[in-house]
């Protein structure tokens, strides 16, 4: 026997991480587009100032979150899982015709295989590509005296922009995916409150009730 219970699956820190990261990423993308020349809603000088400071904050957040991920063991959530193609098939096809999601959320597995893969890409490819090129870009004047600096600046700027657009694409799809829950706002509510309804075995339920390892209502 198992039943669905409302369990806190996103801890206070995870939610803080998620939403502060969201605010910083939006700020960076918006000011980044101003620096890129896409819009002039923020004057260039101010955009650079905001962009630089937001980037420093985001790097600090990432450093601390990496520490948190490893000390809490949460990093395992992002490991590769089997069944990616079934999930992809579901979002590309099944979802349109009312098929059930091929994956069930559990305490140990907060994310489906596609999510894990996407977040892993975010954290190990897009993120590092952004901060490494961003730092190189920021410190341009410490390498501007080299003969290759002209081409180098162009390359760094191009890579940074490419990574930023990859991040932009991620965010667009990510935000869109939040509408694919039971109701369009279900996933957003979960990310705000931290609670989601999870199918628990009797043993899990009893364990949580006994140990208060996480909150449940």
């Amino acid at each position: 026997m198992s039943h669905k219970r409302e369990v806190m699956i996103y801890t206070r820190y995870e939610r803080f991480w998620h939403w502060s990261q969201a605010v910083l990423v939006f700020t960076l993308f918006f000011t980044g587009l101003a620096i890129h020349g896409t819009h002039d809603l923020v004057p260039f000088g101010l955009a650079v100032k905001i962009h630089t400071n937001a980037a420093l904050l985001l790097i600090a957040l990432w450093v601390f979150t990496t520490f948190w991920n490893f000390t809490t063991g949460q990093w395992r959530q992002y490991l590769f899982k089997k069944g990616v193609f079934r999930v992809i098939r579901f979002y590309a096809w099944g979802i349109l015709f009312g098929e059930p999601h091929p994956y069930k959320k559990s305490l140990q597995r907060k994310q489906n295989a596609l999510q894990s893969l996407a977040y892993m890409t975010f954290m190990t490819l897009i993120g590092p590509a952004l901060w490494s090129t961003g730092i190189a870009y920021f410190l341009y004047n410490s390498w501007s005296h080299y003969a290759w600096a002209g081409t180098g600046l162009w390359a760094v700027a191009l890579l940074h922009t490419a990574a930023a657009f990859a991040m932009g694409a991620f965010v667009i799809v990510h935000v869109y995916m939040t509408t694919t829950g039971k109701t369009p706002l279900h996933y957003v509510r979960t990310m705000v409150t931290g609670y989601d309804s999870i199918e628990l075995t009797e043993v899990e339920e009893a364990y949580i009730e006994e140990t208060k390892s996480t909150e449940m209502r």
Partner: protein, 519 residues
């Protein structure tokens, strides 16, 4: 206060106190018997000065203010007014008594000789008169008037030489301005960043020279060492890696860096610009800002027009600027002009009278002074320039420019006879240069580095004037380097648009198909 702010205050105090001390001095020149006159000629004043300042005239004779002769150490080219051409009157040769009115001496009537060979003597008062009454008249090879003369219908009195002699002191803005504000034949004509509005400028016009700014004189920056001025248009210090000169250890404060150092901004990212962008590019947003227009075009090809009565034609515009003159041709003027921007390493290749024009003409336009520099030579910064457009007489057969004899009471001078073949024949013959007998007009450009009229920092050029994709951006035409906000791949945006397109299609399908829950 930050260390930088302290440094700035110290720099300012040293600069201003050095100037103030010199201005006060320990000698009251009005009490020297030898200066009480009377003086028959201005040369007698120089003799009186020399009784105490025994070495001064000798020093002046080594300076470019006297020799009009210099060799560009970057290019090896021999320069100086008698040798190079500009887009205003062309050459001073054969026009001496007019053009040499700005020589720091008296009596240089023949530029084919050195001033010494020509028997000229040093003029002390031009630079040191403190009375504001001494004036070199425009047509007497550097002499002031000695008796009343009717000029332009007005009787002009000669200056009181004794009064001037007793008033001497360090050079004031007016002293330098008497010549440098009037280059090209009139107020503000030539440079664009030097005109009479700088005699007593408001703070917005010139933060350094304004009385309510730093109240500096020209020589506060253009330091003189034994009468040799520092700061040069022929050999500009485009990047001053020497930085701060306080206490002034290289005796030349003519660069911004001399007082402000190489990293004067509180914000690091702004300091990151100083290796590639000259201070002037941001801090002089426009030139000719003081209400005096500068000449931006001079077309000699139209000169000589006469009306039905055979009288030379002169036309003025609504601002009372001469836009056509039978003597000189068509003019255009500009006020509050946005500079042109070029990479500049301090080297300018000038066009000598004797130069063949082959290879110097592009698309029918001759650039009289070719500005050296590139984004990759490691020695250049982006500098602001006044672009002067011209159309000048030249010899299409020998492919050289020609000396145009414009001034003089003879039957050939263009300004009185309006006859180009005669004027050119006279000028070329006088200069001892070959002329084929043919002449045409060639379009010219000249680039004048802009470095004066520094605005207060709050009026500096905003970042987005350059960091923009706008084709009207200040640096829109300057290629060969990557600049954020202007450059970048437009294609990359496609990634973003593809993602948007994808979710719109997917979302649309979900709504249309309603998750298969069709009844």
């Amino acid at each position: 206060m930050s260390p930088r702010a302290v440094l700035r205050v110290v720099a300012f105090l040293v600069a201003s106190s050095a100037f103030a001390a010199a201005a006060a001095g320990t000698a009251d020149h009005s009490r020297f018997g030898v200066l009480k006159g009377p003086f028959a000629t201005a040369e007698d004043v120089t003799k009186a000065c020399s009784t105490c300042h025994t070495e001064a005239a000798g020093e002046v004779k080594k300076s470019i203010h006297w020799t009009w002769d210099g060799t560009n150490s970057f290019t090896g080219q021999r320069l100086g007014k008698p040798r190079i051409m500009n887009s205003f009157c062309g050459s001073p040769i054969s026009n001496e008594p007019r053009c040499t009115s700005c020589h720091a001496g008296y009596g240089w009537t023949d530029l084919r000789m050195t001033p010494e060979e020509n028997g000229a003597t040093v003029d002390c008062l031009a630079c040191h008169d403190g009375s504001g009454t001494y004036k070199k008249t425009a047509t007497d090879a550097g002499h002031p008037l000695y008796s009343p003369r009717v000029i332009g219908g007005v009787t002009v009195e000669p200056p009181d030489l004794a009064k001037a002699a007793m008033s001497v002191g360090p050079s004031q803005r007016e002293n330098c301005g008497a010549c440098h504000f009037n280059g090209g034949g009139g107020d503000g004509v030539k440079h664009g960043d030097l005109d009479s509005s700088l005699t007593d400028p408001p703070r917005d016009l010139d933060v350094h020279m304004a009385a309510d700014g730093a109240n500096m004189a020209c020589s506060t920056c253009h330091t003189f060492n034994a009468h040799i001025p520092s700061g040069s248009r022929y050999m500009t210090t485009a990047v001053d890696r020497h930085g701060l000169d306080l206490p002034h250890d290289d005796h030349s404060r003519a660069t911004c860096e001399s007082c402000h150092g190489s990293t004067p901004h509180a914000e690091a990212k702004i300091n990151d610009h100083t290796d590639r962008v000259a201070c002037q590019s941001c801090h002089i947003p426009e030139f000719a800002r003081g209400g005096v227009a500068t000449k931006t075009l001079w077309d000699w090809s139209t000169a000589g027009r006469k009306d039905a009565n055979g009288k030379p034609v002169y036309i003025k515009d609504e601002h009372d600027h001469l836009v056509y003159s039978a003597e000189k041709g068509d003019f255009a003027y500009g006020e509050n002009v946005r500079p042109a921007y070029l990479w500049y390493n301090g080297t300018i290749e000038q066009t000598a009278i004797t130069d063949k024009l082959d290879g110097k003409v592009k698309d029918g336009v001759l650039t009289l002074n070719r500005i050296g520099g590139s984004p990759t030579d490691g020695k250049s910064r982006i500098w602001p320039f006044k672009e002067m457009k011209g159309k000048q007489p030249y010899d299409p057969e020998l492919n050289t420019l020609v000396v145009n004899h414009v001034f003089g009471k003879d039957d050939s001078a263009f300004w009185t006879n309006f006859d180009y073949p005669k004027a050119i024949a006279f000028g070329m013959n006088y200069a001892g240069l070959p002329w084929s007998g043919k002449f045409g007009f060639i379009e010219t450009r000249m680039y004048w580095p802009i470095t004066h009229m520094v605005a207060p920092k709050e009026k500096a050029v905003p970042c987005s004037d350059c960091h923009t994709r706008d084709p009207e951006g200040r640096l829109a035409g300057l290629g060969g380097f990557y600049m954020p906000g202007r450059d970048g791949s437009r294609l990359l945006g496609i990634v973003g648009y593809l993602a948007l397109f994808g979710v719109v299609v997917h979302g649309g399908l979900r709504i249309v198909l309603r998750g298969g829950r069709r009844s």
